[in-house]
């Protein structure tokens, strides 16, 4: 299901109740139709009406109204309703507003609060991880990457999270471009070792940097996707091995993956499983 559409759940109850009173029911139902249509990637009237068990008559009127504004198209041949250009055009005004960094900010703050560790945001640029921002932990001992730092992909949690979702060709390209510098005893420098680690990372859903870049520092990272399901960024928490023990990794992984997924949603992206 489309969690995004139901994201209201995350709010305080009071808000929900309050909003419920000021909500236009018919409009809300109509939006449900539109969302369902999107999820189904198009469908016939009865399919749509069936999927959300509502009377066909109602769904029909909703669809024709959307059609009037170009929000949905109707293919007379196949009798199939589709998302229309106006929906795309209107929705894409969303992109014009704010950047990844701004949207990430509150999510990273929450992640930091939840885990107590510094949260980081990074993207790939020219074969390196570019750190775009961070929210620092309150703890005295902390990991610090000034935003703007460019770091090797193969020895970074975010880097590996990004790599794990790129296709083979790009993986090889990135790994070939840099020369897999060794930073610590734990750094993976053999392409095979890295590729194997990336496979694990993909399966796991998050990447682990276990002192591969800096001795005494661990990092857990998860990928963020754009609307096409392509990786565009990674989000991570990092801290000293004394706090991020191997035991704690699995505990931290969930919040990190949640944050990555939240950010994916906040930028209108699609998580690709």
């Amino acid at each position: 299901m489309d969690d995004l559409a139901k994201s209201a759940r995350g709010r305080p109850k009071a808000w929900d109740d309050k909003r419920a009173q000021n909500t236009i029911k018919s409009l809300d139902r109509a939006l449900e139709v539109l969302i369902t249509l999107g999820e189904m990637q198009g469908g016939t009237l009865s399919e749509i009406a069936g999927a959300m068990d509502q009377s066909p008559a109602t769904v029909y009127r909703v669809l024709t109204t959307f059609q009037g504004r170009g929000f949905v198209d109707f293919d007379e041949q196949t009798q199939v309703w589709h998302m229309g250009p106006a929906a795309f055009l209107t929705g894409s005004h969303f992109l014009r507003r704010t950047s990844l960094v701004e949207r990430a900010r509150p999510i990273m703050r929450d992640l930091m609060e939840a885990t107590g560790e510094t949260a980081n945001l990074g993207i790939e640029r020219d074969g390196k991880v570019l750190f775009l921002g961070q929210v620092e932990t309150h703890a005295t001992i902390r990991a610090f990457f000034p935003p703007g730092t460019a770091s090797a992909m193969h020895a970074s949690g975010i880097g590996k999270a990004l790599l794990s979702r790129m296709d083979d060709a790009r993986q090889r390209q990135v790994l070939a471009a840099g020369q897999l510098e060794r930073f610590t005893d734990y750094t993976l420098t053999e392409p095979e070792a890295i590729i194997s680690d990336l496979r694990d990372t993909k399966a796991r859903g998050y990447a682990i940097d276990g002192e591969e870049r800096n001795v005494g520092m661990r990092c857990i990272a998860a990928p963020v996707f754009n609307v096409f399901g392509e990786v565009v960024a990674g989000i991570s928490v990092s801290g000293p091995t004394t706090r991020i023990t191997t035991d704690r990794i699995s505990d931290l992984a969930q919040p990190v993956m949640d944050a990555a997924q939240q950010l994916t949603k906040a930028i209108g992206g699609n998580y690709r499983p």
Copy 2:
């Protein structure tokens, strides 16, 4: 303004009348709010209500309902309403219908890598060029067309690539429909000048937009064909005149035409010589 969203106007009257009966008025008004919000690129309650003179109370309820589904965001700080991620996500299902965009994605990425410039994909819709997607260059200075932008045909590389392969009747129709707005000193505003340019474009195999839309920006575009040999899309690279010099045009043209041809093949199209 946003013609696309109002495209219902173009329909036969009979349809309009028929539809009017089965149209849900409140939903239609709500869509108007959403479209207005998009056009205004965000605004406060009173701005929005004022812009479409409706009672603030109604607009308020509409907005909160949209908000509940994530279709609009409300910035508590500034009291400004914006398009939300769910609108974008839902609307972008439009792209998935035609596999064009998905097929184009990897080709555009390669084109971007090969040329170092932002690659764009666009189609014609209602006499305008609708940008469906882009892959941005890594360079700091870059051309940026948010997907969803609708732009004038006569002052766009993709637009001219599309026009150059339409038959005379449609050319005239499109050129007559819009009123050939002038954007820069270089914009072609005389039908004769444009038609002559389109002839050259067709012979050349690619279109050149030399600062005709934005000063300081050039763009090189080539047409993409469907199985019947009809133009269905255009693919382009765009960037600052400082990087896309006149000397470089012929170098860039080949990769662009290659990409267009690849995409033509990828969608099972036939190149028409």
